[in-house]
């Protein structure tokens, strides 16, 4: 009996540029909605589309954006990291301890604070990958630990960097004088390029997708899933540390009681950017667009004098619409 093989080859024969175009389309759509929102505010208020306000928007994207970079890796593996918000506050405090209290030069204190973030991430990674705690629980616990430690170490008082003008320059200085772009924005851009590179061009990135797509299969393919998960959480911790430096440099002080809530904003940015909470799928460019959508909304609504409470309501609705639209689009293709 001769049976045609049609079932097996139909999809396989589909030209791959079509799939590629579809993936592009998704990013294009996120980008298009960013443009639409931007245009809407520009038409609604003439104070919105000015150069200085655009710089403002970028500046306000820095902290959420940096946190969201690491979170993108974690979420693509199918995990979650709730500790990045208070972890960031703890890293800011540690930066204060290193530079203000211990008197380390800025050039040493900053890497030390970033590495401290990596340490937080390492502990998260070990808890998740080796002790097999659910990521939600492990990082929820770390969220509380970090918040508590930040308050204990700082004795619940802010640490001021007033005597270290070089430190605040990290965020507020302007490397290129003519453009009026704060350094923090440049740092975010560089961090995003690095993260995008790691995710798309290195083994770490490939295994990040692979673990999120099918963890058991990845392990059976001879990949040390445990180790790579530890690396992913550690990486998220490093970005947390960087965010801690950027926020404290911007404020001129380490505020131990802050941080809570930033993790959810970062997760929102990642999700709006098209990364699936189920794992296996996502991109850095999407995350950056997601973070920008959030700050454009916050900024625009502020300029239109819409109260903070309503800004949250609108942001919540945007998340619902963004994720639902993504699901509908996927069902259609």
């Amino acid at each position: 009996m001769a049976f045609p093989l049609t079932d097996g080859t139909e999809t396989a024969a589909r030209p791959n540029w079509l799939t590629a175009a579809k993936n592009r389309l998704q990013q294009l759509l996120a980008f298009a909605s960013l443009i639409v929102i931007f245009t809407f505010f520009a038409l609604a208020n003439s104070a919105f589309p000015t150069y200085s306000n655009v710089i403002n928007i970028l500046f306000s994207t820095v902290v959420i954006g940096t946190l969201a970079l690491g979170t993108t890796f974690v979420i693509i593996t199918g995990g979650i990291d709730l500790s990045i918000g208070t972890g960031m506050a703890l890293c800011a405090v540690m930066s204060g301890v290193f530079i203000v209290d211990a008197g380390l030069p800025v050039a040493l204190g900053v890497p030390a604070a970033v590495l401290f973030g990596g340490l937080i991430g390492l502990v998260n990674g070990v808890n998740v990958a080796v002790l097999k705690l659910p990521p939600f629980i492990a990082t929820l616990a770390m969220m509380l630990v970090a918040q508590g430690l930040a308050l204990v170490i700082s004795k619940s008082t802010p640490i001021y960097f007033s005597d270290h003008p070089g430190y605040t320059k990290i965020s507020t200085g302007e490397l290129i004088p003519a453009l009026n772009i704060p350094n923090a924005v440049v740092v975010l851009l560089a961090a995003a390029v690095l993260a995008g590179f790691l995710l798309s061009r290195t083994l770490l990135g490939r295994y990040t997708y692979s673990i999120g797509s099918n963890e058991a299969a990845t392990a059976l393919s001879g990949i040390n899933v445990r180790r790579w998960k530890v690396v992913v959480y550690t990486l998220a911790g490093l970005f947390t540390g960087l965010a801690g430096v950027l926020i404290s440099a911007r404020l001129g002080s380490a505020q131990p009681a802050t941080g809570m809530g930033y993790e959810l904003q970062a997760i929102a940015a990642v999700v709006i950017g098209g990364t699936s909470l189920a794992g296996g799928k996502g991109s850095i460019i999407g995350t950056m667009i997601g973070a920008l959508i959030i700050s454009v909304l916050n900024n625009g609504l502020q300029i239109m004098s819409i109260p903070q409470e309503w800004q949250n309501v609108i942001l919540g609705l945007v998340i619902l619409v963004a994720v639902y639209a993504d699901m509908v689009r996927k069902k259609e293709t």
Binding site: T6, D7, T11, R14, N16, R206, S210, A216, T218, G222
Partner: protein, 529 residues
């Protein structure tokens, strides 16, 4: 012995409460295909896990090429030359074919991945194996058969000397099976060997050189395939003789019509599907993969949206919007995908049995009456001969056949009088299949009406009072048990009315080449043969 590629000697493995393997033996010679058969729960999966380093044996030894071999982990086994294709695919659905094949061995330039080199190697490999795969396609979008090819390409890319395939053909049609067997024959060289695990005994005859039978975790016998009959193998497997020439029972015309489906259509696939189902009748649905059999079931129970057609239940027209409504009307659908859609694997037998009827039967004053669920479950476990230590056992620990019985029990409790069973014996061993058949016959005798969708033609032929054959989303014919044969069913299943004018004419459909021809509007009675 130098030509012994792999030897398993005296291997024991026990889990809490279960002795999975005791004194297991197996010898794979170089250059042969060794079939490994045994009922579900006989210990095949445990043996595979041991060989891949997933478990450690409690006692016994492995030898690879005559050297002692203790697999530490999957990676170790792979690099020692043992490649295993597991029953459940181990692919990353979000990655491309090439990325899946070389996962863990990505070509790099410095610290960077070299995607071009990766795709080049994958293209080479796929071309060498003669597989029709687009290496840049995302695996999640491929059909089951194509995904299997990716698995095979991946396994063969490791320069394996021992290639183990666990139920490789469970989801393939005959042409795909033939392609697979071609690949296996090409793989077998004087210094390599294949262990082929399957329930399809006719396949073992076609592909294997020797057959090792195991039962209840023990080695039973090894036979030369050429000198062995299927009946002998089955007898060794189950430890008893089986009646293999069974025919449908209780076949008679003039049954009261319970379900009357007219002109059922769905957007993507189904075209004008019409049939009736009588009280106490078993109606088989045959057809090749993708013909639309499962889609008919899903359309009837309201899982997929229909674009046309009417359904009458006991003579009354009904509109069914979702499976819950179908269940209320007494139509139960038992999915082909037991593990995902049929069972709560973490929950015990009684929870699963009671699940669909909690509200109607097992609540008192708003609270779940657990003693009542256990009583009912205990009763059904006895009636259906479910092999489980107790009704408190989580269903994930039951074998495939016993899981299927639990799903059937669930719908019996629900008191459904129409049962749609989709691939009721997929992944179930021969002995347990017989029990499922007996159970379905029993249910029909008690007046339940059964639609049985199956890819196994012998199964359809031995069970069905009538057989509806589908092709390209249409019912191409309904055969009475007396007229049905492998040949007549296959003829109807291979008609291609959408491409071939002669086939279209045979089914009374317009010529597919004429674009102006009205495409199959208005209900046409399926051709009786």
């Amino acid at each position: 012995m130098s030509n012994h590629l792999l030897e398993v000697a005296g291997v024991h493995k026990a889990f809490p409460g279960v002795r999975a393997l005791s004194d297991m033996h197996l010898t794979l010679r170089a250059g042969e295909v060794l079939a490994l058969v045994g009922e579900n729960g006989a210990g095949k999966s445990t043996l595979m896990k041991l060989l891949s380093g997933g478990y450690r044996p409690d006692a016994g030894s492995f030898r690879l090429n005559g050297e002692p071999f203790v697999p530490q982990n999957p990676r170790h086994a792979l690099h020692a030359g043992i490649s295993i294709i597991h029953q459940e695919f181990n692919l990353m659905p979000h990655l491309t074919v090439a990325q899946n094949i070389f996962i863990g061995r990505e070509p790099r330039r410095g610290p960077l991945l070299s995607e071009r080199e990766l795709n080049r190697r994958a293209a080479d490999l796929v071309a060498r194996l003669g597989l029709p795969l687009d290496i840049r396609a995302v695996v999640g979008g491929l059909t089951v058969a194509s995904q299997q090819m990716v698995e095979i390409a991946k396994a063969l890319s490791y320069d394996a000397r021992v290639f183990i395939m666990d139920e490789p053909t469970a989801a393939l049609n005959d042409a795909e099976v033939a392609t697979l067997h071609g690949l296996i024959r090409r793989f077998v060289r004087p210094d390599t060997g294949v262990i082929y695990i399957s329930h399809r005994l006719d396949e073992l005859k076609a592909i294997s050189d020797r057959i090792t039978v195991i039962r209840d975790g023990r080695y039973v016998d090894t036979l030369a395939t050429a000198a062995t009959t299927t009946r002998e193998i089955i007898t060794l497997m189950v430890g008893r003789a089986l009646t293999s020439d069974a025919r449908p029972v209780d076949v008679r015309p003039g049954r009261e019509v319970v379900l009357d489906v007219r002109g059922l259509s769905t957007g993507p696939l189904l075209r004008d599907v019409s049939f009736t189902l009588g009280k106490g009748e078993i109606l088989g649905f045959a057809g090749l993969m993708g013909a639309g059999r499962t889609e008919v079931a899903r359309a009837i129970v309201g899982a997929d949206r229909t674009t046309g057609g009417t359904i009458r239940l006991h003579g009354r027209p009904v509109r069914i919007h979702n499976p819950a409504e179908a269940a209320r009307l007494g139509i139960g659908y038992l999915s082909e995908d037991r593990k995902h859609l049929g069972l709560l694997l973490e929950h015990d037998v009684s929870d699963n049995v009671a699940l669909s009827s909690l509200r109607e039967r097992f609540t008192r004053w708003g609270l779940v009456d657990r003693p009542a669920t256990r009583r009912t479950a205990t009763d059904l476990v006895r009636r259906l001969a479910v092999r489980t230590p107790s009704v408190r056992q989580p269903t994930k620990y039951l074998s495939g056949g016993n899981q299927q019985k639990v799903v059937i029990a669930k719908w019996l409790v629900k008191d459904c009088d129409v049962l749609i069973v989709d691939e009721p014996t997929r992944g179930i061993d021969v002995g347990a299949k017989e029990e499922i058949y007996a159970l379905l016959n029993d249910l029909a005798r008690q007046g339940k009406s059964i639609i049985m969708i199956s890819s196994e033609l012998p199964e359809v032929l031995r069970m069905s009072h009538r057989i509806a054959v589908m092709t390209e989303g249409r019912v191409s014919g309904i055969l009475a048990a007396g007229d049905a044969s492998q040949e007549s069913v296959m003829h109807l299943a291979t008609l291609r009315p959408n491409e071939n004018p002669a086939d279209a004419a045979e089914l009374g459909l317009p010529d597919p080449r004429r674009p102006d021809a009205a495409p199959d509007r208005g209900p046409t009675e399926p051709k009786a043969v």
